[in-house]
Point group: C2
């Protein structure tokens, strides 16, 4: 399908057909993405202020065959937000639609426009003594529409699920410019195909999310955090099972940390106070959030006692204050910072069936070693089976020397992940970075279904061309 | 699209192309459904024993334009399992594919074929000290494939979600006979469009689910149940909020019961011991499941004390033994039995935003009263916003006298539900019974998306024609 550029002529016509529309040439920041891998083509930038304007814009783009790139906070890690080839697109930023429309504390529901920033939504929930549990590093700039379109994950997935699980209803402008009013606050609704979940995670290729009804949760009355030293990844996994048996749904996070991450902090000069004299090979950070009247300290002490008896832990510290809790989390959050400082050759956001994770961690270094001598930092959301498996140059070497090995490293890891029944994208999505990987590792019948759905809902192929599926 | 009957000639060819296939004329029981509203056309019945056979059957049917009705336990309440008009279809029963394929206790995952019966799956989970939380009245005959295809709900949705929320991966035979191998055990997988949730709830119109990977949960160590008298539906709702604040995720069920249901038991001669001398206007059944070391009795006593102080309850009983817990649940489960005995004119499986439920309960009797003098039994899964709102003849009258009013009653209720932002099918699905209602109340853009997806994935329209969407 041939697409038409978002040129001056199209912009002029759009100005007339959508009176008062904020439209202008694209500033540079809309053409870059955090990894620096893609540089977007500059067409025109529109910043609609309501759903009707979005509908009019998309309708006009569809009639003229002009590609549309929906733009949220621009924090995605797989290049879904920039279009580096083809014809210059219309960039549709939701930034002026950032209202918190309503909060229903009794229903545990918040309704927000797609441009609302994550930490504004969190804050609005807190003001009503509620928790919006989605939480991730970019929460100061990521917007609800983008978070839903990429089905973002983060730190609390184990307990509350990913972005998809937080959503009750959507308002969406479809590729033909029609509005689907699906902004329901219902907990149960079995009236036909699940289009909400189809739009969530579609990365802007099937329509533009303009607003969402989102679930809130009670703020846990009591919170507690511990870092426990485990002898092996298998022990960490067994400890997860014991923790769930003893604490039930109160486990908010269960994060695996490898010594390499702690060593990187030292090497990078990030002055983090570490809880153990010698960094342990493996440890886990466990976070509990319990209802009133339950004592997380006691629960963590009991857990440690049980685990010690079963040989699942050898040492551990339980945070004795809010300040210490915060320090433990700061340590966990310093790992990505240290990684960036050292500079990875290749980073992998993978997931695996929980049971095979120890095997994967045992075997992956061998497949890497066949390519060369590298350092590996393996950490992540063990409770979700989601590892960030990142490969670094040997000490004293620069990343640039090894860029030549990036594809081989990536493929070796993905091959192993695929063989073991895992996923090559646990939480970051496909974007443009992993389109080829999806073609390589995805189920062929499923890929054909995806293509058929894309063709059916966006026959002109205007919505975010080249993301998820090859344009 | 013209379809071809599953006639003797087609059956003969199928016998040849799928050696050893169990195929024969359709027995009567495959042509009936529990409400007695639809009577299926008899074509041929196939009972494949593996996914390859399913694929070969669907492929042949697609080539010959023969309609296929996937058949699970036959317990659906909206006629999705029988095809009463058109040409005689091929009925594809999954009953011979009922294997529990694997249990992964450490991962909290069970993999089962689509024909596995729900209580067999529950039992297999229990044998590994795990809970498969899906639970509903027909669990002795409902099969996994049908439960997923209808996105079944039931008693534990508040805590564990509906069937959709229990599923990690699917194996599906697509309408062209290809197999999508999506039987993953991953907790996080962001590789493209969410087709799993599209197939779940599609009621057999987009393919045949042949197997599923399902989530398990720990069995709660401690359980407790109470029936509390509330002054009003609003108080019940406020009590739900207090319960969640105090007990967190430990609330397994929160069921609303109206006096009419208790009176029906007496009228129907169902000898249930009722916990109060005089049946209260409104009461709620609260079920807690807590982790080891937590005392549900104490939690319920604390809850009662708080609620009494806030004027949210006036009386209540907390089960003092497992026998008493069971008796409370028997009481709850006797409501549908009593309803059947009295005989409803029209039954409505509706959901509403939680906050408007008191308003709905206040206004619905007025719209009914405009039609005539009826009795109403309103009860259900209050925690999910899901009410079963059933309308009965006045005392001493037979249902048959009032059948003439059924459509008016249904429309009056659905109009009100729709006006208040609710759903006309909370957990039962659309099937054939509610196709017209979906057209009337559904969002037009969304309906068009559904039709476009159906046409894209099943261009010949062979999969369960007439269910969900008009054939």
């Amino acid at each position: 399908m041939d697409l038409t550029p978002a040129d001056d002529d199209f912009a002029a016509r759009l100005r007339i057909s959508v009176p008062g529309l904020d439209i202008g040439p694209v500033q540079a920041r809309y053409l870059e993405e955090p990894r620096g891998r893609y540089h977007g083509l500059g067409g025109w930038l529109v910043r609609p202020e309501n759903t009707q304007q979005v509908a009019a814009i998309v309708s006009a783009a569809n009639a003229a065959r002009v590609p549309v790139v929906p733009y949220g906070g621009g924090t995605g890690l797989v290049g879904g937000q920039v279009m580096p080839s083809g014809v210059p697109p219309l960039i549709l930023s939701l930034e002026r639609m950032r209202e918190i429309c309503a909060v229903y504390p009794l229903e545990n529901v918040i309704v927000a426009q797609a441009g609302a920033i994550l930490n504004e939504v969190q804050q609005a929930a807190r003001e009503h003594d509620r928790l919006f549990p989605l939480s991730l590093a970019s929460e100061g700039s990521a917007r609800i529409g983008g978070l839903l379109s990429t089905n973002a994950g983060g730190l609390n997935v184990l307990r509350y699920g990913n972005a998809r699980d937080q959503c009750l209803g959507l308002e969406v402008v479809l590729p033909d410019g029609r509005v689907w009013n699906g902004l329901t606050r219902l907990r149960k609704d079995n009236t036909g195909y699940d289009l909400r979940n189809l739009l969530i995670g579609a990365e802007g290729t099937l329509g533009v999310i303009t607003a969402a009804a989102l679930k809130l949760a009670p703020i846990p009355a009591e919170q507690g955090t511990a870092i426990l030293v485990v002898p092996s990844p298998q022990a960490a996994l067994d400890l997860l099972a014991v923790t769930r048996d003893q604490v039930g749904e109160g486990v908010s996070a269960f994060e695996l940390i490898h010594r390499q991450g702690l060593d990187f902090m030292t090497e990078a000069g990030l002055a983090q106070r570490q809880p153990f004299d010698a960094p342990p090979e493996w440890c886990v950070l466990i976070d509990l959030g319990l209802a009133a009247g339950h004592e997380p300290q006691t629960a963590l002490q009991d857990l440690f006692a049980t685990a010690l008896k079963q040989g699942l832990v050898s040492d551990g510290v339980i945070a004795q204050s809010e300040a210490q809790r915060a320090a433990f989390w700061t340590l966990r959050e310093a790992i990505p910072a240290a990684n960036r400082n050292i500079g990875s050759i290749s980073s992998h956001d993978i997931s695996l069936p929980l049971g095979v994770i120890p095997d994967f961690i045992a075997h992956a270094p061998d497949v890497i070693a066949r390519i060369g001598r590298f350092r590996i930092n393996c950490f992540g959301h063990l409770g979700d089976g989601n590892l960030h498996y990142n490969v670094f140059p040997p000490k004293g070497h620069e990343r640039a020397e090894f860029d030549i090995h990036r594809d081989a490293i990536k493929q070796a890891i993905y091959d192993l992940v695929n063989e073991m029944g895992g996923s090559i994208s646990a939480e970051h999505g496909i974007g443009r970075l992993k389109v080829g990987d999806l073609e390589r590792y995805g189920d062929p019948a499923r890929l054909d279904m995806m293509r058929a759905i894309k063709a059916a809902l966006d026959p002109n192929g205007i919505m975010n061309p080249g993301a998820v599926l090859r344009a």
